[in-house]
């Protein structure tokens, strides 16, 4: 009698467990399909570019497809719990997480879904420059080993680096051309740009820019143009330039100066860094931080801790609406990823 009772209560507990597993299975399916839906929405609307560099898009497509498949698979196991695919594989230990773990899963994945679906997108702004600093001329490079490849310390490109760490000019050694067939500036560009350097592209762009009296810099060319202008600064002094970016002004800049900057993203927003050109606008009202502006002016150079950097003397500062594509990407990737899609 007691035996029978125990067996029936066991069966009841088993059913209870089964119901719990079914309920949690259903939640997992909803979370997976939710993630697939969220990511698919971002991919289809193009808003995924607010979160990632375009080169990560194939990976996001992969995970979206995987979530969809996993969700559908989970749905199938819920609807048709055939022996071979049922939750209990007969191996005698729990495959389902503990109660606390289930709560954590629901809360944390729920956080991703709710912030993703219900909060508006926001483009990263001058806050990044405030926290991480801004590069006003070019990427620094380091080197060791061997007497022929001298260590070269560039002056600090980040504004706050200058305040906290004085730069020792005695340590700076100029590098000559390291590769035959490249002129000095191109060799310097190559040294400095790393992945940003593409021989054909930068040559073309350099020649193109050098041939013009007025440089109109597009979004795609922002980083490269900025770096080429820094490299050939003496040649560019006095020419007209026309470009767009957002305003960043901080305490280290003079009253009538501001940086007009773009945010560069390599993979995801965690690695976002800010690049900009210093603009001096003597007689013009300065727009507030984060306003998008179109600058027209002349290129000058200014001394900035032992280094010549470009300074744009603005003739006009025009406030414009924020662009569709707020970030800029290293060219080497954008060349392969963006351009075929644009055609």
């Amino acid at each position: 009698m007691t035996n029978v009772k125990r067996r029936s209560s066991n069966a009841q507990a088993g059913r209870e467990r089964g119901r719990n597993a079914l309920f949690f299975g259903l939640i997992q399916v909803l979370l997976l399909l939710g993630l697939a839906g969220l990511q698919a929405g971002l991919l289809l609307s193009g808003d995924s570019q607010l979160y990632q560099a375009p080169r990560m898009r194939p990976f996001m497509i992969f995970s979206t497809a995987a979530f969809l498949l996993m969700g559908l698979y989970g749905l199938r196991t819920l609807l048709a719990p055939a022996a071979e695919i049922s939750a209990d594989c007969g191996c005698g230990h729990a495959h389902t997480p503990s109660f606390q773990a289930k709560i954590a899963i629901v809360v944390l994945f729920g956080l991703v879904l709710s912030t993703g679906f219900f909060l508006p997108h926001q483009v990263l702004d001058s806050r990044v420059a405030e926290k991480k600093g801004i590069a006003l001329s070019r990427l620094p490079a380091t080197g060791v080993f061997g007497p022929e490849r001298e260590l070269r310390l560039l002056p600090e490109d980040h504004l706050f680096f200058q305040e906290s760490m004085p730069w020792d000019s005695a340590q700076a050694v100029d590098l000559g051309p390291t590769e035959t067939g490249l002129d000095e500036e191109q060799a310097r560009l190559r040294e400095e740009l790393g992945i940003w350097y593409d021989r054909e592209l930068h040559r073309e762009l350099s020649e193109d820019l050098l041939a013009r009296q007025t440089l109109r810099i597009t979004d795609e060319d922002f980083l490269d143009s900025m770096l080429i202008i820094s490299a050939y600064l003496d040649d560019f002094v006095g020419r007209h330039v026309d470009f767009c970016g957002f305003v960043f002004h901080d305490g280290t800049m003079a009253e009538n100066e501001l940086a007009v900057a773009r945010i560069a993203v390599t993979c995801c927003l965690a690695d976002a860094s800010v690049y900009g050109l210093l603009v001096r606008a003597p007689d013009l009202p300065l727009p507030p931080n984060d306003a998008w502006v179109r600058v027209q002016g002349r290129i000058q150079k200014t001394r900035f801790i032992e280094e010549d950097i470009p300074l744009i003397l603005a003739d006009s500062l025009e406030v414009i609406p924020a662009p569709e594509q707020p970030y800029v990407y290293p060219r080497l990737y954008s060349r392969y990823v963006l351009e075929p899609a644009a055609k």
């Binding site: 997992q28 979370l31 997976l32 995924s48 979160y51 990632q52 990560m56 990976f59 996001m60 992969f62 995970s63 996993m70 989970g74 196991t77 695919i85 005698g92 230990h93 495959h95 997480p97 773990a101 954590a104 899963i105 944390l108 994945f109 991703v112 912030t115 909060l119 997108h121 926001q122 990263l124 702004d125 806050r127 405030e130 926290k131 590069a135 990427l139 620094p140 490079a141 380091t142 080197g143 060791v144 490849r149 560039l154 980040h158 706050f160 906290s164 760490m165 730069w167 190559r190 740009l193 790393g194 992945i195 390599t266 993979c267 995801c268 927003l269 965690a270 690695d271 860094s273 290293p330």
Partner: protein
């Protein structure tokens, strides 16, 4: 304030979306390991002493093209299958750095200058051996913590890929692994995004530029920023001017091995004592190796 929170949310989701594909791959590999590797695989192929498994583990980690988010569940599965914990620790340090994608991005980010890459790979390999050795020394205590019921009495015998049942098992394990690991990961990404939004990097940089302080600063920064090992070289390159090469290497070697998001995942996947030993020995190993480079005059 509201703006700052939205900013944090953008970075949070960005890290999450970026890492999901790799966590999925990690969950899949780890399920394949659990389901397909025979129970006596490691007992048969590994040398008797765990000390002898350290060096092969370094070479094997160069063969695994796997990054930091994906590696943790895979290593847990391998250890469950009987791989020595010390070899697992070696993988956790070395595998995220010793792989082709990271090598390429490091090379590109530092202007095709191979020095940074060579030093990065060498330091990671040595740090991995050091951490592995510490785990090896303490193996009696650490191995006891680790539940290894699987290789002994679990019914997951080697399966044939021709059976539908095997595939169902892999699918089920992948889903549950994704949720377990993903849960810790999301928590880590949340904390990292808050630091990304609210931490003034200048505050950290003001701590100092002496060799030891800049090394510590770079390690803390690598830990808090929680970058993916394929992208961190670009960020390190942008610090270039302000830091000497050894300090940048502290960033490049320490970040992939330990940061906010993978500490959360480690804590979820491994016993607390192992995680503590791993964090302490890993931090000390990187710190003293980098100080050694400073001492040798590498700049």
């Amino acid at each position: 304030m509201l703006d700052a929170l939205l900013h944090a949310k953008m970075i949070f989701l960005s890290i999450v979306f970026e890492s999901f594909p790799f966590i999925l791959l990690g969950a899949l590999f780890s399920s394949l390991v659990l389901v397909l590797i025979p129970q006596d695989f490691f007992r048969r192929w590994l040398p008797g002493s765990p000390w002898l498994s350290l060096l092969p583990a370094v070479f094997l980690s160069a063969l695994f093209p796997i990054c930091e988010c994906a590696i943790i569940p895979v290593i847990r599965s391998l250890v469950r299958k009987g791989m020595p914990l010390a070899a697992g620790a070696v993988f956790l340090v070395a595998a995220p750095v010793l792989n082709p994608v990271v090598a390429a991005s490091t090379l590109f980010a530092f202007g095709l200058n191979p020095d940074v890459l060579i030093l990065r790979l060498a330091l990671s390999a040595v740090a991995a051996l050091l951490v592995g050795s510490v785990v090896c020394l303490l193996r009696d205590k650490l191995e006891a913590d680790f539940p290894r019921e699987l290789p002994v009495d679990h019914g997951h015998a080697p399966k044939s890929l021709k059976q539908a049942k095997t595939w169902h098992e892999i699918a089920r394990h992948t889903i549950s692994e994704f949720f377990t690991v993903g849960c810790y990961f999301i928590f880590g990404a949340m904390i990292a995004s808050l630091f990304q939004t609210f931490l003034h990097q200048a505050v950290l940089l003001e701590i100092g530029s002496a060799p030891w302080s800049s090394t510590v600063v770079m390690m803390i920064l690598a830990y808090l920023l929680s970058l993916c090992s394929a992208a961190d070289a670009f960020v390190a390159a942008s610090f270039g001017a302000a830091f000497t090469l050894p300090s940048l290497l502290a960033f490049l070697v320490f970040g992939p091995m330990l940061d906010l998001k993978n500490t959360a995942m480690l804590a979820g996947c491994f016993p607390a004592r192992f995680v503590a030993v791993f964090i302490v020995s890993g931090s000390l190993a990187v710190f003293f190796l980098v100080m050694g480079l400073h001492f040798l005059g590498v700049q």
